[in-house]
């Protein structure tokens, strides 16, 4: 399972980087989204993939009686997803605004005009 996820993470990174290098601004945003998904999946995989019980310990039982899934990576991913969602919303607005101001979707045309 780890191998499959590692390949998935790798392809997401590759796809994200490829889109970042495209001239289109909207593809830049999609590329950034793919990169953050890749990072989240990597965090998830690095936390360890086990079939295990829920990490809730009752008062009556010892915490070591069963294997429990590590809840921390999931909490971290949740935080990272929220952050990347906000950043994505911001970048989309920015690109949209840049398009309406400059009339082009080409990153090179937008960023090198002043030089």
């Amino acid at each position: 399972m780890e191998t499959a996820l590692a390949i998935l993470v790798g392809s997401l990174f590759a796809g994200g980087l490829y889109l970042l290098l495209r001239p289109s601004a909207i593809k830049l945003v999609i590329g950034l989204a793919l990169l953050s998904h890749a990072a989240n999946l990597l965090l998830f995989t690095a936390g360890g993939l086990v079939r295990a019980g829920v990490p809730i310990v009752k008062d009556t039982e010892q915490p070591t009686q069963q294997i429990m899934a590590d809840p921390l990576p999931q909490a971290m991913i949740l935080t990272a997803i929220v952050i990347s969602f906000a950043v994505l919303a911001f970048s989309l607005t920015m690109v949209c605004r840049a398009y309406s101001v400059t009339g082009t979707d080409n990153v090179d045309a937008i960023t090198t005009r002043g030089k």
């Binding site: 990072a39 965090l43 995989t45 690095a46 921390l72 971290m76 952050i83 101001v101």
Partner: protein
């Protein structure tokens, strides 16, 4: 409790400022009051850590292994105070330096939110929490960068947003791999685990990922090209805030994480940092010499002098780290001051008079004088704070017989002086036809072009810089305590993990 105040105060101020954003006068007043309260809180934190002790706050009283801790030591205490001073200076002149449109859109609250992110990043003792504070800081800086929506702002913002998100993803990946290998994100806990029994090759990979992430944020060679592409596009006051805080938080994170996790046994990585620092200094200074326009020139100088800080750290001696810490504090004050002067000289709403004034009014002389003094401080002429910092760094380089590094540091000092004296001449010279936004001229500014509201903070920062140089002993003692704390991580680990 005290340790939470530098985060809580600006956060509360920002929340109130959102409500008050339509009432620009009240908002401006609240912005200044909130910043003064922040200065007081940061001074209180520094007063407690002044003697070299390390203070820990367990947020929510969770045990260290599961909860987030806030830690303050000499380095973060000093950085907090300088950060709050920079924020105060910007908040005072914001009522004149930022146009009414931007202030109605909540400029002040985004400023405060960025300061929240900076203070949080300085205080946290938890790696994932550091990432979160970085994001708080970044998103606020994105908004500040595009606020106003001018075409050139958007041009700069696309580069800035894209590269900073790549840095954030790299940081997140590094944290993920480290968590997978060590099973914790608490810095002190990680420090013990990396030392005892973590696979060395994994540690190397993670170290390089951290170096890339923090290198982008700190604008190290060859990862700095986003900075000159974006920092000159927003209003100068925003650039002043960025120049004072953002890159330095990157350097701080580099110092903190590398001193705790990757201190001994990572010689190659430190060699890479040293080479990158030297190239940062050289390319930054040469870029500054090549630019005629004022603000791009300042951007390149900002990059050049980031190289000094990482150079001192990469030497890995106590004198080098002390010099680096002193240099960070000095640089935050001076760079903010220089960008604020550029704002005054450019005149955010350029009321460029057609006929030039042959004589300068006393106030204009004061601006010119402040620029010259700040330039002297940045170039490192005595008795400024830059002199003390550079002296310490060059001596540290000579102590470990890195003569080439010391020579480059001195050469870059010369280039800095040349670039800035030329800029000074440009803004005062008589024979310019007409000031333009990028090539400003004090003589072309129509009277009254600016008031004490803008002049006061600049003079304050100049005095602070020279005060740091004239009364260098106590500040340098603090820097030396920083160096001792950073080079013996066991103190930090002991303070956080308790007992």
């Amino acid at each position: 409790m005290l340790l939470a105040l530098p985060i809580v105060i600006p956060l509360a101020t920002a929340a109130l400022l959102v409500l008050l954003r339509r009432y620009t006068r009240a908002a401006a007043l609240l912005h200044v009051v909130g910043s003064i309260a922040l200065v007081a809180a940061c001074c209180a934190v520094l007063a407690r850590t002044w003697d070299g002790s390390i203070h820990v706050l367990r947020v929510g009283d969770w045990p260290t292994s599961v909860g987030i801790v806030l830690v303050s030591d000499a380095l973060s205490g000093g950085m907090l105070v300088v950060t709050s001073l920079v924020a105060l200076a910007v908040s005072i002149s914001a009522s004149r330096g930022i146009d009414i449109q931007r202030r109605r859109f909540g400029f002040a609250s985004y400023c405060q939110l960025m300061v929240v992110g900076v203070c949080g990043a300085l205080l946290t003792g938890d790696l994932f929490n550091l990432y979160v504070w970085f994001e708080v800081m970044l998103v606020s800086s994105f908004v500040l960068l595009v606020l106003g929506g001018e075409r050139r702002q958007l041009e700069g913002a696309i580069t800035y947003v894209a590269i900073n998100l790549i840095a954030s993803v790299t940081l997140l990946v590094a944290i993920g791999i480290l968590y997978g290998a060590a099973g914790t994100v608490n810095l002190a806990d990680l420090a013990t685990r990396v030392r005892h029994g973590m696979d060395h090759s994994v540690a190397h990979v993670v170290g390089v990922l951290f170096l890339v992430a923090f290198g982008i944020k700190a604008a190290l060679f060859p990862l700095f090209f986003w900075l000159p592409a974006s920092y000159h596009t927003p209003p100068s006051l925003v650039a002043a805030l960025f120049a004072g805080l953002l890159t330095k938080v990157g350097v701080y994170a580099l110092l903190r994480v590398f001193s705790l996790l990757f201190w001994s046994g990572f010689d190659t990585t430190y060699d890479v940092i040293l080479i990158a620092s030297v190239l940062t200094m050289l390319t930054g200074a040469l870029g500054a010499v090549g630019q005629r326009d004022l603000r791009p020139k300042l951007c390149y100088l900002l990059i050049a002098h980031v190289g000094y800080m990482t150079m001192g750290f990469a030497l890995r001696t106590e004198s080098g780290v002390a010099g680096a810490a002193f240099y960070i504090w000095h640089h935050m004050l001076v760079m903010t001051g220089l960008f604020m002067v550029s704002g005054i000289v450019v005149g955010e709403n350029p009321q460029v008079a057609e006929a030039r004034n042959a004589w300068l009014s006393p106030r204009k002389w004061m601006v010119g004088g402040a620029f010259l003094l700040l330039a002297m401080s940045l170039a490192g002429l005595p008795p400024s704070s830059g002199f003390v910092g550079k002296l310490a760094l060059v001596r540290a380089a000579l102590e470990v017989e890195r003569y080439g590094v010391a020579a480059v540091a001195l050469f870059v000092e010369l280039l800095t002086l040349y670039a800035l004296v030329r800029a000074w001449y440009d803004i005062l010279q008589r024979e310019r036809r007409k000031g333009s936004p990028d090539r400003p001229n004090l003589r072309c500014l129509r009277e009254p072009a600016f008031t004490w509201v803008e002049l006061g903070p600049v003079l304050g920062l100049t005095i602070a810089s020279f005060g740091m140089g004239l009364v260098a002993a106590p500040v340098f003692q603090l820097a030396e305590r920083t160096a001792v704390q950073l080079s013996t991580p066991s103190r930090y680990i002991g303070a956080v993990l308790g007992e």
